[in-house]
């Protein structure tokens, strides 16, 4: 034993003397600020990290996020029993990110970065500030006014007076003002050539101006419409904007939109004579001249499961399908080309079924954007026709009786497929369609993209030119400009879509146009909130069509010898897997302030209803 001790001691002495510089070496794995901020590639990788941290709300990595509203419902597995919106739904409170961005700004403005081309340096600073403004914008629209920390990087050690770190909330207007003024400055720093980056993944001047226009429009509409929810405000205006400020904000939104339009760098995509296909390509084909800013994905490494999750059963590449599927409400929200009422004609005036030769006939003359957004019965996907068949209706003694079966299997009695492979059914089977539709927007047509292993590199569009036109239209309307101007913007979008023009546009028309144009693009929730109409549309009443998810069940008629044999009829019914109506409570206009944040910073004022 003793010998071992002696030899161990010797080894220890040897080790410690042999490495006298051990503790003074330069680290091989930690890069200091000078090294990082003098190298363009390193700075780019930092920015890439930031860009990866700023996707909030509805997005492609979370299929369930699309089921909260009136666009889609959960379709796979058991029924969804959400009754009310959580108080922290899509809440953004990321001061860690803001601190990291401020550290970045210190670095990029330091002497270490003087070796960079000054123009590149401006771009980098502009991008970081854009990401910061976007973060504040996401905080503001979910929580109202929050602490503005400027460029300061806060540090804490044992001598720090904690109260210097406890910054109170700004008013909602102050935070929007800060975002707007930042965007104005950022637009000067960033490149104005859309070709300067791949797949619109990085912010440029036009992204900054779009954010400015959007922020101003949000602030303007809150100022104008928050009289409708008099209790949704705080005494210090952390929530709520005085009505008098509305025109000022609408003017800022209008001017920013005009600058983008006059800049002429973007246009509505209009290359394909097939209007439905054109709309899909406008949003889902990378390089579209319409997209201003997107979250890009790339294989290998940066992919997502949206296509894998939500593809139709018959064209899937893996076991997964139908996690969320569009509801009838969204489909009926799309107008007909020449009729503003988009209600599907399943029954005649006397309540009798209308018999259709082909399933797709029901959707004839619908707004072509429906094709680009949703797969409906009879529509094609990747060369295959998708047919939804809930079952057959058998004529027995003068009445029609529903017969359903296992999806895609031949029924012994009728020796035919009774329920189609693509459903819909009301069973709780996994990956089986429950609503009679699938999503097309953001679904990748690359077959391998629907596998679990590979994933899809479809981008998620955050800003596009159509939104700029809609901002121009809405701000012009609210500023009382001539109807000819307002309709001009809206009709550009409707002409591209392939539906009739409007002679007169009201706010309701804008609500309607935004709903169908931007379905699944993370707009509707925020739009309905700022207009203060969410609690009216999603009023939690099960007798309200707008609040309740509906499904469309197509049936084939089985009546040998009858002229209607083999024809199609359609049942509209409540979606079996969205059990409760959408119930937007007044407290959902702003998320709750977390008690943990208040414990750390007692100056934070609680939000209404909290």
């Amino acid at each position: 034993m003793r010998k071992i001790y002696i030899s161990l001691t010797c080894v220890l002495i040897l080790l410690s003397s042999g490495c006298s510089k051990f503790l003074e070496r330069e680290s091989q794995s930690i890069l200091d600020d000078n090294q990082v901020y003098s190298d363009v590639n390193m700075i780019n990788s930092l920015l890439a990290n930031f860009y990866g941290r700023i996707v909030w709300g509805q997005n492609l990595t979370n299929s369930g996020s699309f089921t909260y509203l009136d666009e889609a419902g959960y379709s796979s597995g058991g029924p969804n029993t959400m009754q009310t919106y959580p108080d922290d739904l899509w809440r953004v409170y990321d001061y860690t990110l803001i601190r990291n961005l401020n550290q970045f700004l210190v670095g990029i403005r330091s002497d270490a970065a003087t070796t960079l081309d000054p123009i590149v340096r401006d771009h980098m600073e502009g991008e970081a500030r854009f990401i910061r403004a976007w973060t504040y914008f996401n905080m503001c629209r979910s929580l109202g006014g929050m602490p503005i920390v400027g460029d300061e990087v806060f540090d804490y050690d044992q001598n720090t007076d904690v109260s210097t770190l406890q910054i109170p909330r700004s008013t909602e207007a102050e935070l929007y003002d800060y975002i707007i003024s930042e965007c104005t400055a950022i637009a000067q720093l960033l490149p104005d050539d859309p070709q300067s980056n791949t797949n619109a993944a990085r912010a440029n001047k036009w992204a900054a101006l779009t954010l400015k226009a959007r922020a101003a429009l949000y602030a303007g509409s809150i100022a104008k419409y928050n009289y409708k929810t008099p209790d949704v405000k705080t005494a210090g205006n952390e929530v709520g904007i005085p009505a008098a400020k509305a025109p000022e904000y609408y003017q800022i939104a209008y001017d920013a939109a005009q600058e983008i339009i006059k800049g002429g760098k973007y246009r509505l995509y209009n290359e394909n004579a097939d209007k439905g296909r054109n709309f899909y390509e406008a949003i889902c084909v990378k390089g579209s001249p319409e997209v201003i800013w997107a979250k890009d994905y790339i294989y290998p490494g940066q992919t997502h499961g949206f296509t894998n999750n939500n593809i139709a059963s018959s064209v899937r590449g893996d076991i997964d399908a139908n996690i969320m599927t569009p509801v009838l409400n969204l489909v009926e929200a799309f107008e007909y080309k020449d009729n503003r009422d988009g209600t599907l004609k399943t029954k005649d005036a006397n309540g009798n079924y209308i018999y259709y030769e082909n399933p797709a006939d029901l959707f004839a003359n619908k707004d072509p954007r429906l094709y680009g957004t949703v797969i409906y019965s009879g529509a094609d996907f990747r060369g295959a026709t998708i047919t939804y068949q809930a079952g057959i209706k058998v004529l027995e003694g003068g009445t029609l009786k529903n017969v359903t079966g296992v999806p895609g299997e031949v029924d012994k009695k009728y020796s035919m497929i009774v329920t189609g492979q693509d459903g819909p059914t009301t069973s709780s089977d996994q990956f089986v369609n429950k609503t009679g539709f699938n999503v097309r927007k953001f679904i990748d047509e690359n077959r391998d993209a629907s596998t679990r292993g590979r994933g899809s590199e479809m981008w998620f569009v955050q800003m596009r030119y159509a939104e700029v036109l809609m901002i121009a239209a809405e701000s012009a309307l609210e500023l009382g400009k001539a109807q000819s101007e307002v309709t001009g913007y809206v009709n550009q979008i409707r002409d591209r879509a392939g539906i009739q023009s409007l002679n007169q546009v009201t706010l309701d028309d804008i609500i309607q146009e935004n709903r169908v144009e931007f379905a699944f693009e993370n707009h509707r929730w925020w739009d309905l909130k700022r207009w203060r109409v969410a609690h009216e549309i999603w009023n939690g009443s099960s007798s309200n069509y707008n609040a309740t998810h509906y499904a469309l069940f197509p049936y084939k008629i089985y009546a040998p010898g009858s002229p209607n044999d083999g024809k199609w009829v359609f049942d509209k019914q409540k979606a079996s897997h969205s059990v409760y109506p959408r119930n937007f409570r007044y407290q959902n206009y702003y998320n709750f302030i977390d008690q943990g944040w208040i414990n750390s910073n007692p100056t934070l004022v609680r939000n209404p209803y909290q």
Binding site: Q83, S542, S543, Y586, Q595, N599, P608
Partner: protein
Amino acid sequence: MHFMKQHIFKAALFSFILCVAACGKDNYDAPQSRLTGKVTYNGQAVGVKGSNQSVYLQLWQDGYATRTPINVYVTQDGSFSAELFDGTYKLVSTSGNGPWVSKQDTVIVQVKGNTTVDYPVTPYYTVSNISYDLNDKTLTASFDVTGIDESHAIEYATLMVNDTKFVEIGQNIHSIEKAGVSVGHVELSMDVTDDLAESRALFARVAIKIEGITEGVYDTQVEQLK
């Protein structure tokens, strides 16, 4: 080897004792005292929705560095209960949550053993003298609406039926809504033939929805029809 064995045994014994000793200090007994009560107006319970944690009061306790409220959920008949440690609590309501005038009144509760406390509120409206009459296939509910604080108007009165005891706005199989209702006697009736035929059990309840308030004032009871 014998030497090693002894040491291992000693180490094992020591850590075992440490474990046993440590357990005693870490754990509390579960709370034993039950706080129960009702949300009341003039001593009468106020009926609320009652499911999905929709209407709640909060219990706060002073004296700790950080605070987290305990939410106490109010059931259909206006009652609530919570298992607590003995101590002094503050019972409050959050503004705009229940169908009553928001006020930040604090009820101080001394919990020592099982305790009962009522939480007085001022509802905007109350419903009383409620009766349900099922005549063959038509269900008629009649009741009196009294205005207590009419700063918010009545949005509508509603009669609902459901196949479970949870009969609520948003959770029913059939309902009618009558807008333009004012204070006084209200009668609502609807045809429930299909509901009676299709459901194994059927319950009815009435409520008043108030403008600008998410929650309604409900009957404290549900009426079983089948």
